[in-house]
Amino acid sequence: MLGRDQYQALLDGAQITLQVSALAILWGTVAAVVLGVVSLSPFRPLRWFVRVYVEVLRGVSAIILIFWAYYALPLFGVDLSAMQAGVLALGLNLSAYGAEIVRGAVQAVPRGQTEAALAINLSGWQRLWSIVLPQAMVAVLPPYGNLLIEIMKSSALVSLISMSDLTYEAQSLRQNRAADSIDIFGATLIIYFAIALGITGIVRLLERRFGRGLDTGRAGTAFGAAK
Protein backbone atom coordinates (compact mmCIF):
# COMPACT_ATOMS: atom_id res chain seq x y z
CA MET A 1 0.00 0.00 0.00
CA LEU A 2 1.03 3.60 -0.52
CA GLY A 3 2.05 5.60 2.49
CA ARG A 4 1.04 9.18 3.22
CA ASP A 5 4.17 10.64 1.65
CA GLN A 6 3.73 8.68 -1.52
CA TYR A 7 0.13 9.79 -1.89
CA GLN A 8 1.27 13.35 -1.31
CA ALA A 9 3.89 13.02 -4.06
CA LEU A 10 1.28 11.71 -6.50
CA LEU A 11 -1.15 14.48 -5.58
CA ASP A 12 1.57 17.11 -6.05
CA GLY A 13 2.17 15.59 -9.47
CA ALA A 14 -1.54 15.66 -10.21
CA GLN A 15 -1.49 19.36 -9.47
CA ILE A 16 1.13 19.91 -12.17
CA THR A 17 -0.92 17.75 -14.53
CA LEU A 18 -3.96 19.93 -13.86
CA GLN A 19 -1.93 23.08 -14.28
CA VAL A 20 -0.41 22.09 -17.63
CA SER A 21 -3.76 20.82 -18.90
CA ALA A 22 -5.63 23.92 -17.76
CA LEU A 23 -3.16 26.35 -19.33
CA ALA A 24 -3.06 24.39 -22.59
CA ILE A 25 -6.85 24.15 -22.64
CA LEU A 26 -7.19 27.87 -21.95
CA TRP A 27 -5.02 29.16 -24.78
CA GLY A 28 -5.83 26.25 -27.08
CA THR A 29 -9.55 26.96 -26.78
CA VAL A 30 -9.15 30.64 -27.59
CA ALA A 31 -7.06 29.67 -30.61
CA ALA A 32 -9.57 26.99 -31.62
CA VAL A 33 -12.50 29.42 -31.61
CA VAL A 34 -10.58 32.05 -33.54
CA LEU A 35 -9.30 29.53 -36.10
CA GLY A 36 -12.71 27.85 -36.39
CA VAL A 37 -14.40 31.17 -37.16
CA VAL A 38 -11.59 32.31 -39.47
CA SER A 39 -11.81 29.04 -41.44
CA LEU A 40 -15.28 30.22 -42.54
CA SER A 41 -14.12 33.68 -43.55
CA PRO A 42 -14.79 34.82 -47.12
CA PHE A 43 -11.10 35.75 -47.46
CA ARG A 44 -9.42 32.82 -49.20
CA PRO A 45 -5.76 33.12 -48.00
CA LEU A 46 -7.00 33.12 -44.42
CA ARG A 47 -9.02 29.96 -45.03
CA TRP A 48 -5.99 28.30 -46.59
CA PHE A 49 -3.79 29.27 -43.72
CA VAL A 50 -6.15 27.60 -41.27
CA ARG A 51 -6.43 24.53 -43.51
CA VAL A 52 -2.65 24.05 -43.57
CA TYR A 53 -2.32 24.79 -39.85
CA VAL A 54 -4.95 22.20 -39.00
CA GLU A 55 -3.63 19.51 -41.33
CA VAL A 56 -0.02 19.90 -40.20
CA LEU A 57 -0.77 19.94 -36.50
CA ARG A 58 -3.17 17.04 -36.70
CA GLY A 59 -0.60 15.17 -38.76
CA VAL A 60 2.30 15.30 -36.32
CA SER A 61 1.69 13.59 -33.05
CA ALA A 62 1.54 15.44 -29.74
CA ILE A 63 4.61 13.63 -28.47
CA ILE A 64 6.78 14.69 -31.39
CA LEU A 65 5.43 18.22 -31.07
CA ILE A 66 6.44 18.33 -27.40
CA PHE A 67 9.95 17.09 -28.10
CA TRP A 68 10.27 19.49 -30.98
CA ALA A 69 9.18 22.44 -28.86
CA TYR A 70 11.62 21.43 -26.14
CA TYR A 71 14.69 20.39 -28.11
CA ALA A 72 14.44 22.05 -31.52
CA LEU A 73 12.96 25.47 -30.77
CA PRO A 74 15.91 26.56 -28.57
CA LEU A 75 18.12 26.29 -31.63
CA PHE A 76 15.88 28.81 -33.36
CA GLY A 77 16.65 31.12 -30.47
CA VAL A 78 13.45 30.43 -28.54
CA ASP A 79 14.36 28.94 -25.21
CA LEU A 80 11.34 27.44 -23.51
CA SER A 81 11.05 25.93 -20.08
CA ALA A 82 9.59 22.43 -19.96
CA MET A 83 6.33 23.95 -18.73
CA GLN A 84 6.18 26.42 -21.60
CA ALA A 85 7.07 23.78 -24.17
CA GLY A 86 4.42 21.43 -22.82
CA VAL A 87 1.69 24.06 -22.68
CA LEU A 88 2.63 25.32 -26.15
CA ALA A 89 2.61 21.87 -27.76
CA LEU A 90 -0.57 20.64 -26.09
CA GLY A 91 -2.35 23.91 -26.88
CA LEU A 92 -1.29 23.73 -30.52
CA ASN A 93 -2.60 20.20 -30.69
CA LEU A 94 -5.90 21.17 -29.07
CA SER A 95 -6.38 24.22 -31.28
CA ALA A 96 -6.11 22.16 -34.47
CA TYR A 97 -8.70 19.58 -33.45
CA GLY A 98 -10.84 22.20 -31.72
CA ALA A 99 -10.93 24.45 -34.79
CA GLU A 100 -12.52 21.63 -36.79
CA ILE A 101 -15.17 21.08 -34.13
CA VAL A 102 -15.97 24.80 -33.94
CA ARG A 103 -16.15 25.09 -37.72
CA GLY A 104 -18.58 22.19 -37.98
CA ALA A 105 -20.77 23.57 -35.20
CA VAL A 106 -20.88 27.10 -36.60
CA GLN A 107 -21.82 25.71 -40.00
CA ALA A 108 -24.64 23.75 -38.38
CA VAL A 109 -26.33 26.88 -37.00
CA PRO A 110 -29.25 27.54 -39.36
CA ARG A 111 -28.66 30.34 -41.86
CA GLY A 112 -31.93 31.95 -40.86
CA GLN A 113 -30.36 32.91 -37.54
CA THR A 114 -27.71 35.03 -39.22
CA GLU A 115 -30.26 36.49 -41.60
CA ALA A 116 -32.62 37.36 -38.77
CA ALA A 117 -29.76 38.97 -36.84
CA LEU A 118 -28.93 40.96 -39.95
CA ALA A 119 -32.55 42.00 -40.26
CA ILE A 120 -32.61 43.42 -36.73
CA ASN A 121 -29.46 45.36 -37.56
CA LEU A 122 -26.87 43.60 -35.39
CA SER A 123 -23.24 44.23 -36.27
CA GLY A 124 -21.02 41.41 -37.55
CA TRP A 125 -19.44 41.04 -34.16
CA GLN A 126 -22.80 40.95 -32.36
CA ARG A 127 -24.15 38.39 -34.82
CA LEU A 128 -21.20 36.14 -34.10
CA TRP A 129 -20.94 36.65 -30.38
CA SER A 130 -24.59 36.84 -29.31
CA ILE A 131 -26.39 34.78 -31.94
CA VAL A 132 -24.20 32.22 -33.71
CA LEU A 133 -21.62 31.14 -31.12
CA PRO A 134 -24.05 30.52 -28.22
CA GLN A 135 -26.07 28.22 -30.46
CA ALA A 136 -22.96 26.55 -31.83
CA MET A 137 -21.93 25.80 -28.25
CA VAL A 138 -24.59 23.09 -27.97
CA ALA A 139 -23.03 21.17 -30.86
CA VAL A 140 -19.46 21.98 -29.81
CA LEU A 141 -19.62 20.76 -26.24
CA PRO A 142 -20.04 16.95 -26.53
CA PRO A 143 -17.11 16.39 -28.92
CA TYR A 144 -15.12 19.14 -27.22
CA GLY A 145 -15.45 17.35 -23.89
CA ASN A 146 -13.86 14.26 -25.43
CA LEU A 147 -11.09 16.39 -26.88
CA LEU A 148 -10.36 17.94 -23.48
CA ILE A 149 -9.96 14.47 -22.00
CA GLU A 150 -7.57 13.60 -24.82
CA ILE A 151 -5.50 16.70 -24.03
CA MET A 152 -5.48 15.92 -20.31
CA LYS A 153 -4.25 12.42 -21.17
CA SER A 154 -1.59 13.82 -23.50
CA SER A 155 -0.31 15.97 -20.66
CA ALA A 156 1.30 12.78 -19.32
CA LEU A 157 3.83 13.24 -22.13
CA VAL A 158 5.39 16.24 -20.38
CA SER A 159 6.86 13.75 -17.91
CA LEU A 160 9.18 12.74 -20.76
CA ILE A 161 10.66 16.24 -20.87
CA SER A 162 11.24 15.97 -17.12
CA MET A 163 8.31 17.92 -15.75
CA SER A 164 7.24 16.51 -12.42
CA ASP A 165 3.65 15.77 -13.32
CA LEU A 166 1.61 12.83 -12.08
CA THR A 167 3.24 10.32 -14.43
CA TYR A 168 6.71 11.56 -13.56
CA GLU A 169 6.04 11.24 -9.82
CA ALA A 170 4.76 7.71 -10.37
CA GLN A 171 7.92 6.82 -12.25
CA SER A 172 10.20 8.25 -9.59
CA LEU A 173 8.32 6.42 -6.84
CA ARG A 174 8.82 3.23 -8.79
CA GLN A 175 12.52 3.91 -9.34
CA ASN A 176 13.01 4.55 -5.63
CA ARG A 177 11.11 1.34 -4.91
CA ALA A 178 8.95 3.39 -2.56
CA ALA A 179 6.07 0.95 -2.94
CA ASP A 180 4.86 -1.93 -5.07
CA SER A 181 4.55 -0.95 -8.72
CA ILE A 182 0.96 -2.11 -8.85
CA ASP A 183 -0.03 0.26 -6.04
CA ILE A 184 1.82 3.17 -7.59
CA PHE A 185 0.52 2.79 -11.12
CA GLY A 186 -2.90 1.65 -9.94
CA ALA A 187 -3.29 4.83 -7.88
CA THR A 188 -1.93 6.92 -10.76
CA LEU A 189 -4.44 5.50 -13.22
CA ILE A 190 -7.28 6.07 -10.76
CA ILE A 191 -6.27 9.71 -10.26
CA TYR A 192 -6.24 10.24 -14.03
CA PHE A 193 -9.64 8.59 -14.28
CA ALA A 194 -10.96 10.88 -11.54
CA ILE A 195 -9.69 13.96 -13.41
CA ALA A 196 -11.37 12.71 -16.58
CA LEU A 197 -14.63 12.20 -14.70
CA GLY A 198 -14.30 15.76 -13.38
CA ILE A 199 -13.91 17.11 -16.92
CA THR A 200 -16.92 15.10 -18.10
CA GLY A 201 -18.95 16.49 -15.21
CA ILE A 202 -18.05 20.10 -15.99
CA VAL A 203 -18.84 19.63 -19.67
CA ARG A 204 -22.23 18.10 -18.78
CA LEU A 205 -23.02 21.14 -16.64
CA LEU A 206 -22.08 23.48 -19.48
CA GLU A 207 -24.18 21.42 -21.88
CA ARG A 208 -27.19 21.88 -19.65
CA ARG A 209 -26.47 25.57 -19.24
CA PHE A 210 -26.21 26.23 -22.98
CA GLY A 211 -28.97 23.80 -23.92
CA ARG A 212 -31.47 25.75 -21.82
CA GLY A 213 -34.15 27.39 -23.91
CA LEU A 214 -33.24 25.61 -27.11
CA ASP A 215 -35.44 22.77 -28.24
CA THR A 216 -32.67 21.29 -30.37
CA GLY A 217 -29.92 20.14 -27.98
CA ARG A 218 -29.93 16.70 -26.40
CA ALA A 219 -29.70 18.19 -22.94
CA GLY A 220 -33.00 18.45 -21.12
CA THR A 221 -34.37 22.00 -21.12
CA ALA A 222 -36.29 23.75 -18.43
CA PHE A 223 -39.44 24.10 -20.49
CA GLY A 224 -38.90 21.75 -23.39
CA ALA A 225 -40.01 18.62 -21.59
CA ALA A 226 -43.42 19.97 -20.61
CA LYS A 227 -44.39 20.97 -24.12
Binding site: E55, V56, R58, G59, V60, S61, A62, I63, I64, L65, F67, W68, Y70, Y71, A72, P74, L75, F76, G77, I149, K153, S154, S155, A156, L157, S159, L160, T167, A170, Q171, R174, D180, S181, I182, F185, G186, T188, L189, Y192, F193, A196, L197
Partner: protein, 227 residues
Amino acid sequence: MTLLQVSPSTWDWEFAREILPDMLRGLRVTVEVTVVGIAIALVLGLVLAMLRRSHRRAIRWPVGLMVEFIRSTPLLVQLFFIFYVLPDYDIRLSGWSTIVIGLALHYACYTSETYRAGIESVPKGQWEASTAINLTRMQTWRHVILPQAIPTALPALGNYVVASLKDAPLASSVSVVGILAVAKEIQGDTFRGMEPFTIAGVLFLLVSVPLAILVRLLEKRHAFERT
Protein backbone atom coordinates in the same frame (compact mmCIF):
# COMPACT_ATOMS: atom_id res chain seq x y z
CA MET B 1 22.07 24.05 -21.56
CA THR B 2 25.21 26.04 -22.35
CA LEU B 3 26.14 23.53 -25.00
CA LEU B 4 22.86 24.21 -26.72
CA GLN B 5 23.58 27.90 -26.87
CA VAL B 6 27.07 27.41 -28.22
CA SER B 7 26.05 25.11 -31.03
CA PRO B 8 25.32 26.91 -34.30
CA SER B 9 21.65 27.60 -34.73
CA THR B 10 21.37 27.11 -38.44
CA TRP B 11 19.95 24.14 -40.25
CA ASP B 12 22.74 21.74 -41.28
CA TRP B 13 21.81 19.86 -44.45
CA GLU B 14 24.93 17.70 -44.31
CA PHE B 15 24.06 16.55 -40.81
CA ALA B 16 20.43 16.02 -41.82
CA ARG B 17 21.46 13.78 -44.71
CA GLU B 18 23.76 11.85 -42.44
CA ILE B 19 21.08 10.97 -39.91
CA LEU B 20 18.28 10.33 -42.41
CA PRO B 21 18.89 6.57 -42.88
CA ASP B 22 18.77 5.99 -39.12
CA MET B 23 15.60 8.04 -38.85
CA LEU B 24 13.98 6.02 -41.62
CA ARG B 25 14.88 2.80 -39.84
CA GLY B 26 13.23 4.22 -36.73
CA LEU B 27 10.14 5.16 -38.71
CA ARG B 28 9.88 1.61 -39.98
CA VAL B 29 9.80 0.22 -36.47
CA THR B 30 7.15 2.79 -35.50
CA VAL B 31 4.98 1.83 -38.48
CA GLU B 32 5.42 -1.89 -37.77
CA VAL B 33 4.31 -1.48 -34.18
CA THR B 34 1.28 0.50 -35.34
CA VAL B 35 0.22 -2.05 -37.93
CA VAL B 36 0.38 -5.01 -35.54
CA GLY B 37 -1.21 -3.05 -32.68
CA ILE B 38 -4.14 -1.65 -34.65
CA ALA B 39 -4.78 -5.00 -36.37
CA ILE B 40 -5.30 -6.62 -32.98
CA ALA B 41 -7.32 -3.60 -31.81
CA LEU B 42 -9.75 -3.91 -34.72
CA VAL B 43 -10.55 -7.52 -33.81
CA LEU B 44 -10.54 -7.02 -30.05
CA GLY B 45 -12.72 -3.92 -30.37
CA LEU B 46 -15.39 -5.95 -32.12
CA VAL B 47 -15.31 -8.56 -29.37
CA LEU B 48 -15.63 -5.84 -26.70
CA ALA B 49 -18.55 -4.26 -28.56
CA MET B 50 -20.34 -7.62 -28.68
CA LEU B 51 -19.64 -8.25 -24.99
CA ARG B 52 -21.14 -4.86 -24.15
CA ARG B 53 -24.36 -6.04 -25.81
CA SER B 54 -24.41 -9.24 -23.78
CA HIS B 55 -27.63 -10.24 -22.02
CA ARG B 56 -25.67 -10.82 -18.84
CA ARG B 57 -25.11 -7.82 -16.64
CA ALA B 58 -22.11 -9.55 -15.06
CA ILE B 59 -20.41 -9.31 -18.47
CA ARG B 60 -21.87 -6.07 -19.77
CA TRP B 61 -21.03 -3.84 -16.81
CA PRO B 62 -17.41 -4.80 -16.12
CA VAL B 63 -16.58 -4.59 -19.81
CA GLY B 64 -18.23 -1.18 -20.02
CA LEU B 65 -16.32 0.08 -16.99
CA MET B 66 -13.03 -1.27 -18.35
CA VAL B 67 -13.57 0.46 -21.70
CA GLU B 68 -14.34 3.78 -20.02
CA PHE B 69 -11.37 3.45 -17.69
CA ILE B 70 -8.87 2.64 -20.43
CA ARG B 71 -10.22 5.42 -22.64
CA SER B 72 -9.90 7.99 -19.87
CA THR B 73 -6.33 7.29 -18.78
CA PRO B 74 -3.07 8.03 -20.61
CA LEU B 75 -1.59 5.32 -22.82
CA LEU B 76 1.85 6.21 -21.43
CA VAL B 77 0.85 5.19 -17.90
CA GLN B 78 -0.82 2.05 -19.24
CA LEU B 79 2.46 1.16 -20.95
CA PHE B 80 4.32 1.63 -17.67
CA PHE B 81 1.73 -0.55 -16.00
CA ILE B 82 2.30 -3.36 -18.48
CA PHE B 83 6.06 -2.90 -18.47
CA TYR B 84 6.71 -2.58 -14.72
CA VAL B 85 3.78 -4.17 -12.90
CA LEU B 86 3.32 -7.42 -14.80
CA PRO B 87 6.89 -8.66 -14.12
CA ASP B 88 5.97 -8.70 -10.41
CA TYR B 89 3.53 -11.43 -11.38
CA ASP B 90 6.10 -13.25 -13.48
CA ILE B 91 4.81 -11.98 -16.78
CA ARG B 92 7.81 -10.53 -18.54
CA LEU B 93 7.15 -8.70 -21.79
CA SER B 94 9.66 -7.12 -24.13
CA GLY B 95 9.32 -3.45 -24.96
CA TRP B 96 8.04 -4.40 -28.37
CA SER B 97 5.26 -6.60 -26.97
CA THR B 98 4.45 -3.89 -24.43
CA ILE B 99 3.81 -1.17 -26.99
CA VAL B 100 1.89 -3.54 -29.27
CA ILE B 101 -0.33 -4.79 -26.43
CA GLY B 102 -0.72 -1.24 -25.10
CA LEU B 103 -1.79 0.14 -28.46
CA ALA B 104 -4.04 -2.87 -29.10
CA LEU B 105 -5.87 -2.58 -25.76
CA HIS B 106 -6.13 1.21 -25.83
CA TYR B 107 -7.47 1.39 -29.35
CA ALA B 108 -9.70 -1.67 -28.93
CA CYS B 109 -11.61 0.44 -26.41
CA TYR B 110 -11.97 3.26 -28.92
CA THR B 111 -12.92 1.02 -31.84
CA SER B 112 -15.43 -0.85 -29.68
CA GLU B 113 -17.43 2.38 -29.43
CA THR B 114 -17.40 2.73 -33.22
CA TYR B 115 -18.50 -0.86 -33.69
CA ARG B 116 -21.20 -0.27 -31.12
CA ALA B 117 -22.57 2.63 -33.12
CA GLY B 118 -22.54 0.38 -36.20
CA ILE B 119 -24.34 -2.40 -34.34
CA GLU B 120 -26.92 0.01 -32.96
CA SER B 121 -27.64 1.27 -36.47
CA VAL B 122 -28.92 -2.19 -37.46
CA PRO B 123 -32.73 -2.08 -37.13
CA LYS B 124 -34.24 -3.98 -34.24
CA GLY B 125 -36.41 -5.93 -36.66
CA GLN B 126 -33.31 -7.77 -37.85
CA TRP B 127 -32.84 -9.26 -34.38
CA GLU B 128 -36.52 -10.14 -34.15
CA ALA B 129 -36.55 -11.71 -37.60
CA SER B 130 -33.50 -13.80 -36.65
CA THR B 131 -35.29 -15.02 -33.56
CA ALA B 132 -38.34 -15.80 -35.67
CA ILE B 133 -36.36 -18.06 -38.01
CA ASN B 134 -34.79 -19.74 -34.99
CA LEU B 135 -31.17 -18.60 -35.36
CA THR B 136 -28.98 -18.92 -32.29
CA ARG B 137 -27.51 -15.72 -30.87
CA MET B 138 -24.12 -16.54 -32.37
CA GLN B 139 -25.65 -17.21 -35.78
CA THR B 140 -27.54 -13.94 -35.59
CA TRP B 141 -24.33 -12.05 -34.91
CA ARG B 142 -22.39 -13.80 -37.64
CA HIS B 143 -24.89 -13.93 -40.47
CA VAL B 144 -27.26 -11.04 -39.83
CA ILE B 145 -25.96 -8.28 -37.60
CA LEU B 146 -22.22 -8.02 -38.23
CA PRO B 147 -22.42 -8.11 -42.04
CA GLN B 148 -24.58 -4.99 -41.76
CA ALA B 149 -22.85 -3.31 -38.83
CA ILE B 150 -19.21 -3.60 -39.91
CA PRO B 151 -19.46 -1.80 -43.27
CA THR B 152 -21.17 1.11 -41.48
CA ALA B 153 -18.38 1.30 -38.91
CA LEU B 154 -15.47 0.78 -41.30
CA PRO B 155 -14.75 4.36 -42.48
CA ALA B 156 -14.85 5.76 -38.95
CA LEU B 157 -12.45 3.05 -37.84
CA GLY B 158 -9.90 4.46 -40.27
CA ASN B 159 -9.53 7.49 -38.02
CA TYR B 160 -8.20 5.27 -35.26
CA VAL B 161 -5.61 3.79 -37.57
CA VAL B 162 -4.26 7.33 -38.01
CA ALA B 163 -4.61 8.10 -34.30
CA SER B 164 -2.74 4.97 -33.25
CA LEU B 165 0.11 5.83 -35.59
CA LYS B 166 0.43 9.09 -33.71
CA ASP B 167 0.65 7.29 -30.38
CA ALA B 168 3.18 4.74 -31.61
CA PRO B 169 6.25 6.96 -30.87
CA LEU B 170 5.47 6.29 -27.20
CA ALA B 171 7.37 3.07 -27.87
CA SER B 172 10.51 5.00 -26.97
CA SER B 173 9.39 5.13 -23.33
CA VAL B 174 9.55 1.32 -23.08
CA SER B 175 12.91 1.26 -24.86
CA VAL B 176 11.79 0.36 -28.36
CA VAL B 177 13.94 2.13 -30.91
CA GLY B 178 11.30 3.76 -33.07
CA ILE B 179 11.53 7.14 -34.73
CA LEU B 180 11.43 9.15 -31.51
CA ALA B 181 14.05 7.05 -29.74
CA VAL B 182 16.39 7.48 -32.72
CA ALA B 183 15.86 11.24 -32.67
CA LYS B 184 16.48 11.38 -28.93
CA GLU B 185 19.61 9.31 -29.26
CA ILE B 186 21.00 11.57 -31.97
CA GLN B 187 20.14 14.62 -29.88
CA GLY B 188 21.89 13.09 -26.87
CA ASP B 189 25.02 12.24 -28.83
CA THR B 190 25.40 15.44 -30.80
CA PHE B 191 23.46 18.02 -28.76
CA ARG B 192 21.72 19.00 -31.97
CA GLY B 193 17.98 18.71 -31.54
CA MET B 194 16.80 20.75 -34.46
CA GLU B 195 17.51 18.33 -37.30
CA PRO B 196 16.46 15.02 -35.74
CA PHE B 197 13.20 16.30 -34.25
CA THR B 198 12.26 18.32 -37.30
CA ILE B 199 12.99 15.35 -39.56
CA ALA B 200 10.95 13.16 -37.22
CA GLY B 201 8.04 15.57 -37.56
CA VAL B 202 8.32 15.79 -41.34
CA LEU B 203 8.64 12.02 -41.83
CA PHE B 204 5.64 11.61 -39.63
CA LEU B 205 3.63 14.05 -41.71
CA LEU B 206 4.64 12.18 -44.86
CA VAL B 207 3.03 9.03 -43.49
CA SER B 208 0.09 10.38 -41.51
CA VAL B 209 -1.27 13.05 -43.84
CA PRO B 210 -1.71 10.76 -46.89
CA LEU B 211 -3.23 8.18 -44.56
CA ALA B 212 -5.66 10.75 -43.16
CA ILE B 213 -6.60 11.88 -46.66
CA LEU B 214 -7.23 8.28 -47.69
CA VAL B 215 -9.51 7.76 -44.70
CA ARG B 216 -11.44 10.92 -45.52
CA LEU B 217 -11.91 9.79 -49.13
CA LEU B 218 -13.21 6.45 -47.91
CA GLU B 219 -15.62 8.22 -45.58
CA LYS B 220 -16.89 10.47 -48.33
CA ARG B 221 -17.36 7.60 -50.77
CA HIS B 222 -19.18 5.63 -48.15
CA ALA B 223 -21.49 8.52 -47.33
CA PHE B 224 -22.19 8.88 -51.05
CA GLU B 225 -23.00 5.21 -51.52
CA ARG B 226 -25.43 5.22 -48.63
CA THR B 227 -27.55 8.07 -49.91
